[in-house]
Symmetry: C4
Subunit: 280 residues, 4 copies
Amino acid sequence: MTARSITPLQKKFYEVIFGTETPAGKWFDICLIMVILSSVTIVMLDSIWDLHATYGELFWRIEWVFTILFTIEYAVRIWCSPNRKAYVLSIYGVVDLLAILPTYIALAFPQAASLLIVRLLRILRIFRVLRLVAFLNEANLLAGALRRSARKIFVFFSMMMIITMIFGCLLYVVEGPESGFDNIPISIYWAIVTITTVGYGDVVPVTALGRAISATGMLVGYAIIAVPTGIITAELASGLRGSHRTSRNCSQCSRAGHDLDARYCKYCGSDLPPLGREGD
Amino acid sequence: MTARSITPLQKKFYEVIFGTETPAGKWFDICLIMVILSSVTIVMLDSIWDLHATYGELFWRIEWVFTILFTIEYAVRIWCSPNRKAYVLSIYGVVDLLAILPTYIALAFPQAASLLIVRLLRILRIFRVLRLVAFLNEANLLAGALRRSARKIFVFFSMMMIITMIFGCLLYVVEGPESGFDNIPISIYWAIVTITTVGYGDVVPVTALGRAISATGMLVGYAIIAVPTGIITAELASGLRGSHRTSRNCSQCSRAGHDLDARYCKYCGSDLPPLGREGD
Amino acid sequence: MTARSITPLQKKFYEVIFGTETPAGKWFDICLIMVILSSVTIVMLDSIWDLHATYGELFWRIEWVFTILFTIEYAVRIWCSPNRKAYVLSIYGVVDLLAILPTYIALAFPQAASLLIVRLLRILRIFRVLRLVAFLNEANLLAGALRRSARKIFVFFSMMMIITMIFGCLLYVVEGPESGFDNIPISIYWAIVTITTVGYGDVVPVTALGRAISATGMLVGYAIIAVPTGIITAELASGLRGSHRTSRNCSQCSRAGHDLDARYCKYCGSDLPPLGREGD
Amino acid sequence: MTARSITPLQKKFYEVIFGTETPAGKWFDICLIMVILSSVTIVMLDSIWDLHATYGELFWRIEWVFTILFTIEYAVRIWCSPNRKAYVLSIYGVVDLLAILPTYIALAFPQAASLLIVRLLRILRIFRVLRLVAFLNEANLLAGALRRSARKIFVFFSMMMIITMIFGCLLYVVEGPESGFDNIPISIYWAIVTITTVGYGDVVPVTALGRAISATGMLVGYAIIAVPTGIITAELASGLRGSHRTSRNCSQCSRAGHDLDARYCKYCGSDLPPLGREGD
């Protein structure tokens, strides 16, 4: 039995909490985003020592208000779901649970206070709302470009891992522990910091040879920063271009490449089939 | 009454001060840009302690010259505007006022000297001139690409906020206060510094695990730097390509936007004029 | 004699070790990748002083197991190659030998221990497997874009070398040894660090003029970072677009490369088969 | 008289020194590049204190050899030029003179030794050779893209100057002199270092508000780094695409967009005009 029959009241709650079409559903989503953001802000502020010392008590009380709100929401979500098990085991269900669990655990076991950081996962709940409300097309276009580029990006990252490894080992051999290149993992960390152009400056070459090699590494990094950009741009551009054209073929001359708003074949002037009949 | 009738003298001043078509208007704009830049330079030089100690008196006098010049200009602008209220309340009018107010306030209340920094807003007045004179097409193309990408960029920034939040919290938990990751806001500041590849080096991970996580974060940042670039490039390219479409209008339905290789109007199916007859 | 006749047993081994089509060949490749990665990990961990002090003995033993495994593999590869000389002298053959030699040399001459770092070249052996298994198309597309851009990138790097040289010398003259710009090579190193936006901060300008010049240099670097990106993107995009051409062959002259909207062969002028009949 | 009549010997020398078509001209160019690079290397090495102390005498002698070689070359160039005045006053002529003058001046006035740095301008002489030999097309394509983008890039840089000015002033007000933001020029220097993602770390915000503002600045910089990239990419891509297509129109159906290697119209199948007759 995958879907129970639900009462009209449950159906109404379901539409408000899970849906976005009704005005009430939209208001619920907006309130939820604001509660989530406030709750995350409180967790962040509480991590600042000065504020914790002064307002720790207050933060703790506000935190409980949020936790109780989220608990009620979680209970109602379970109650009104047509398929309770599917909801509880879905990623969204697990995140909803993780958003409330740490506060209760910290109450039961005060020594587990470091678990409270898990509450920051609440920010992930924003995705649920964003997923429903809007921006779906844009996210799809981006995700599509990333997915189509996935294999190219994998090839690119393999190349880059090997490049950072080579530069890291070179500097480890050339500079040695007295300049901070204590071991190979640190040297590879340095190579990643350098080639991605982050450049903290906590580990830097000091010998002439080391500097020459790392300057070469920077120029290489500068050149290959172009590669992932190029990959994604090319995919995005082809995605955009594709989304402005249909795959309609003219029934007379059977040629394609017509704009979305075209009604007549631009090559032979005969009628084009209406747009709705085929998928894009 | 939105527009008063204005005298010919007012009209003439209006053309010189607000317009750019007449030679006098162009000269006025060029002088204005130079006065603005000189005035901003003086404010900057005055902020250098050594120069302030030696030339402070001189700077203060030059400043008054500029302030009086701008005051006269402001008065003339109000006087010759067809619609005075609209000018005073427009953004440009407010900036024009903010450019002169601080000097007078500092005279009246010497303790409000820190307000003098507001004078730097004068640089915004340059926009007024640039807006009128030139570069309008280029700015429009850029603005168009940014506007069309706005939703995609919003999605991208939401993703990035969540990524920096996750990396910031991870490093807060892993490194802790003894490495400078004092609280979550500082850790998120570190994550932004790292993922945007700025890399100050004022807060850096020191543990092996922290370095491994931040290296991962850098590679992620390196990969996603491609995304906004790709978005804007794709939009700009599609904007440019759009400008390669012909300006041919169909002789039947007089609509434009036809591809270079189109022979029939895609909207009404009638013949298009051949391409050779008009320039691109 | 370029290829000896080989026994069926050798042929079978050859298919497993060098080939990827058979299931056994795939499993061999996967095992090989894992052994290579483990071996490289051990070398890295051994470079960390703490771990070396505690587990050095253990690492050395594991290292010997890997070395013996690789030696056996190397012997079998030679034995089952149809053309032994070609294998031994190929790049892959040399890397395979370099992967095992250092351990034996370190046994014979303990003072040559620093040679052990050469073992990290084993990571290059991964390429052999990747080359065979997959990702071939993606790597080809990337390599093609880089190859087509090679001359443009050379021109770009010549320009950048000269720009870094000019900025380096300017700062050397302006800042001088007391700010860390000890000599021209160091100043050029600083210029590369700056223009590639790495920005370690180990050498920074301190005078007003030096800072003004280096700010200019950063803006120049910021602008020209666009150039390699643009080059590679444009090439990649044109590569991708090329792959959108149809694979239709002209029935008369049997040449391909026709646009999607082409109706006649652009080489011989005869009719092309309609587009709908074959997939893209 | 713009061009004197020259003797055959002068013409021969002219072809070797200025030209690149003859084998002797090519060899001369290659030798010249190598002499220039050696000479620049010597100047750089001489700036290193240790090397100067040990080999200063030797460097000085080698330097004289190069100077005499360049002097002879300069004299021959003047002697064999058809139009001597034009050569001497051209940029190349001035650079050729600047390459030899400092050494003579340093001999006459030993206190002007700091002028010797000017010798590094010799590197600019490389351009003369590169200009002639090769890479002309690639450099033209790049230069064309930059030229077409010049106005867009100007608009972009104006925007960025104003953005850095705003962020610089904000941080000057928020952080003040005790964090190193001593005056407005330094704060603007900091803003440029930050927004271009160089991030030295010599001036960093330390207050919470300052960090929040600069994190915003980084994200803005991260987003707008896309703009110049996008501009140049779009221009390069449109340049590339253009260079793969001709502007030939079919004489039958008068449609354009044919590939460079097309001989027949892809739309109507009739002959295309041969490529040579019109420029691209």
